[in-house]
Amino acid sequence: MRIIKSTLTAAILVAAMPLTSHAEGSSREFADVYSECGLGGMIFSGESDSNVILAIISNVTWDLGTTAHSSNVSSAENCITRGSTSALFIMENLPQIEGDIAKGEGEHLAAAVSSFGCESQLQSLTSELQIKTIESIDTGVYAEFTELEKSAQIFDTISSSCTI
């Protein structure tokens, strides 16, 4: 049930955000990365155990692009350079990153920001993420957010605010 819900949410999310062509990874939106790289197929394909994810990432890290054809990744080479690393990291470490945002610091948040190459803006990005999260909580939408939507909010906030 949860998988169906996540897949539907993902489909709505992708449909709601028209794909735009960006030159660099840091300015791409989560929906772009999500659809282009087939991350939904990876994470929410129904084989949600970590081995599936591990296998895909192993493909990416060892072979980078060639063996990825067999694992729902449309173009791993394109993805790895254009934001999929950050998207995967955020999705895979969401509870820890969420906690770090609330606390104002933490290793997982620092790593997520670093994956965009925005280490120097860690403090301002943290404040930005805190404001966005408070807004979502205050308006009541955060409680209804799926993990995918929470990941998207974090990804898009960093991606749009990082000026590197």
């Binding site: 994810i53 890290t61 060892w62 990291f89 509870p95 609330a102 290793e107 620092a110 999260t133």
Partner: protein, 647 residues
């Protein structure tokens, strides 16, 4: 001042060969030399075209016998000019079996000289870049006219080659949940030097492990693991996935040893890992395991033998002992820094311990009644921080769906309250567990003198090829436990010398960690198979015995208490003894530890009971020497004083 030579050529994509010098300032002459080296690698046809490609046979022999070539080809020299290898994949060799170093060298050089085709990835240079790199830098005349390494696009694009220059050896502490992990695990982490995370979350983790079929029977797993029934290989993946498994799911502490290697050595190691990526090895849990393979990598780049040829086992901690020996011998630090990486459970326990008692009580109440309405504004920032971290752990292990939902709501409220405090809590991170390399060695020779109440004096000498004892700080291997195997004890009393006992195997887990949840007990157990002469109904004869015990343990600070129900059996006539055991282990100081145990045992007819008390204390003089004193009260009192030598 660090000198960084970096050719920003995206076309050539030769970043990994551009020799980013980050260690010491280079003299102008060295800089020129290294620049020339770089040019040689990038544009090999220019520098080697004038060399005579036909090598004299003596030159081949010289190169083939070079220790680095032997290490690169994983061929061990045996008697009568034969070689053996642990590698199972025929694709790793370019010559035909039976493999010989010189034939392999000739085949390699010949393959390197082939022209590049459309499918460059299949070219020998791309399949064996470490061989190419080493030959090119050490024996440039041997190669002749060859394509450059820049034809290997996949290798150049491998993130490990791009990610910077930090290489860490990560020691993962022992894990009793899996027999194969009891003595810890070792892996490599490749990442940026200016890593924003001490845990290297964005690094690439290079792991060596056996390929175990899913749902493998435990007994089969042990037998095949020891007997070489599995293939194994290196794999590379995002390190945060492994960090999560070890730190969160398995509650294992880690230590990261940042290696101090020159850029050339780091390149050689990474290139060799690349050429081993699809290569299957024989796997033997006791010896040819993760530690062995990673030590082989170190042997390659350090150019010296560190692996023991004639030993039955090799463990992750042995690699660190070897590094210390090399450091001492070379007067050069192989490790820049060691970072302790606590497990989530340990981090949470430490955070909890820093809270005031009243806050701890309120949190304990919340943990047993995880409802959002029980959380209010009066909770302080450190309490909220603790709850945010703890809730992840609590939700992961909770089975009941409604409790998980309650935890989600509680966590959500903790996040909101914490966000609204907008304060940044000063990070307290001063806790360090000593690294595994600082622990005691595990081969033990022990000399003891025993004095009994009756006045009888006995001298004992025991040898243990492998001994982790409860009083040891195991430094990452087999934490909270004991493991001893093949211990022979000889005694001499009243001019009679004899073999007193053989401990075939003794294994125990009796120490617990301080628990956040009140009255939370850890599972404790111990077991053993031994031969000794102490059996009440028939003393004096050496007979096989078996014992097993289960119970609970609870940790409080540096002390653990345990209680066990124990069963002993004399395997010769199958007489049984059952008993109750209580005890404590405390490690109050770095060098000092003590234990106490009391037991009462009955034989199977409950006709005789045996009450026994033992108190032991140990003082570690240094990594090789320790003194131990113990007092035992059984049918009569005895005192024992021992000296231990470890290597």
């Amino acid at each position: 001042m660090a000198i960084k030579l970096s050719l920003q050529s995206q076309d050539l994509k030769m970043q990994f060969l551009l020799l980013k010098y980050t260690s010491e300032p280079l003299s102008p002459i060295s800089a020129i030399f290294r620049s020339l080296l770089f040019l040689t690698l990038c544009l090999p046809t220019i520098s080697t075209a004038q060399e005579d490609p036909a090598l004299a046979s003596s030159k081949y022999t010289e190169i083939a016998q070079n220790p680095t070539w032997l290490r690169l080809t994983h061929l061990d020299k045996r008697a009568f000019g034969r070689y053996r290898t642990d590698i199972q994949s025929a694709e790793f060799f370019l010559s035909k079996p039976p493999y010989k170093v010189q034939a392999e060298l000739e085949a390699t050089i010949s393959a390197f000289r082939q022209n590049a085709s459309n499918d460059n990835e299949q070219h020998a240079i791309c399949r064996f870049p470490a061989r190419y790199y080493w030959l090119k830098t050490t024996f440039p005349s041997a190669l002749g006219d060859t394509p450059p390494l820049s034809i290997c696009k996949k290798l150049i694009d491998w993130p490990a080659m791009k990610s910077g220059s930090a290489l860490n050896l990560v020691h993962v502490s022992g894990y009793m949940g899996n027999p194969g992990s009891a003595f810890g695990h070792l892996l490599l982490r490749v990442g940026k030097e200016d890593n924003p995370s001490s845990r290297g979350l964005l690094d690439i983790g290079v792991n060596f492990g056996a390929k175990i079929p899913q749902g493998e029977n435990t007994l089969l797993y042990i037998l095949k693991g020891i007997g070489g029934g599995y293939n194994s290989s290196f794999s590379a993946d995002r390190h945060y996935l492994r960090d999560h498994v070890y730190a969160a799911s398995e509650s294992r502490d880690m230590w990261a040893y940042e290696l101090n290697l020159t850029e050339e050595k780091r390149q050689l190691l990474l290139l060799h890992l690349w050429e081993l990526r699809d290569t299957a090895f024989n796997y033997f849990f006791l010896k040819k395991n993760c530690a062995w393979r990673i030590a082989q990598m170190l042997e390659l780049v350090l150019n010296e033998d560190i692996l023991p040829e004639h030993r039955l086992y090799y463990m992750p901690v042995d690699v660190f002992h070897a590094i210390e020996e090399i450091d001492a011998r070379r007067n050069h630090k192989l490790v820049n820094r060691i970072t302790f990486l606590p497990s989530d459970k340990r981090s949470n326990t430490l955070s909890f311990g820093r809270l005031p008692i009243a806050a701890q009580d309120r949190i304990r109440y919340l943990i047993s009644n995880p409802r959002a309405e029980n959380l209010d504004m009066t909770f302080t920032t450190p309490s909220l921080d603790f709850l945010i971290d703890y809730s992840v752990q609590a939700m992961a292990k909770e089975q009941d769906k409604s409790t998980v939902e309650n935890w989600k709501k509680l966590r959500q409220k903790s996040l909101l309250l914490r966000l609204k405090t907008k304060s940044r809590q000063a990070k307290v991170n001063n806790f360090q567990l000593p690294p595994p390399g600082e622990g005691l060695r595990h081969q033990v020779l022990k000399l003891s003198t025993i004095e009994e109440e009756s006045g009888r004096q006995t001298t004992e000498l025991s040898f243990a090829p492998f001994s982790y004892e409860l009083l040891d700080r195991n430094r990452g291997s087999l934490s909270n436990g004991e493991f001893r195997g093949g211990v022979f004890t000889f005694s001499n009393s009243d001019k009679n010398s004899r073999l007193k006992s053989i401990d075939v195997l003794k294994i125990a887990r009796l120490r617990g960690m301080t628990s956040i949840e009140r009255q939370r007990l850890d599972f404790a157990w111990r077991g053993g198979l031994l031969f000794n002469r102490e059996w009440r109904t028939d003393p004096g004869r050496l007979r096989p015995q078996f014992n097993a015990a289960i119970g609970s343990t609870i940790g409080k600070g540096k002390t653990s208490l345990y209680g066990l129900l124990e069963l002993k059996s004399n395997l010769q006539n199958f007489e049984l003894q059952s008993g109750v055991v209580i005890g404590a282990v405390s490690l109050p100081k770095n060098k000092w530890s003590l234990s106490w145990e009391s037991s009462i045992r009955w034989d199977e007819h409950k006709e005789h009971s045996l009450l026994q008390h033992n108190f032991s204390t140990r003082y570690r003089l240094n990594r090789a020497h320790a003194l131990e004193a113990s007092h035992t009260r059984q049918e009569q009192k005895s005192w024992k004083l021992s000296y231990q030598y470890r290597w």
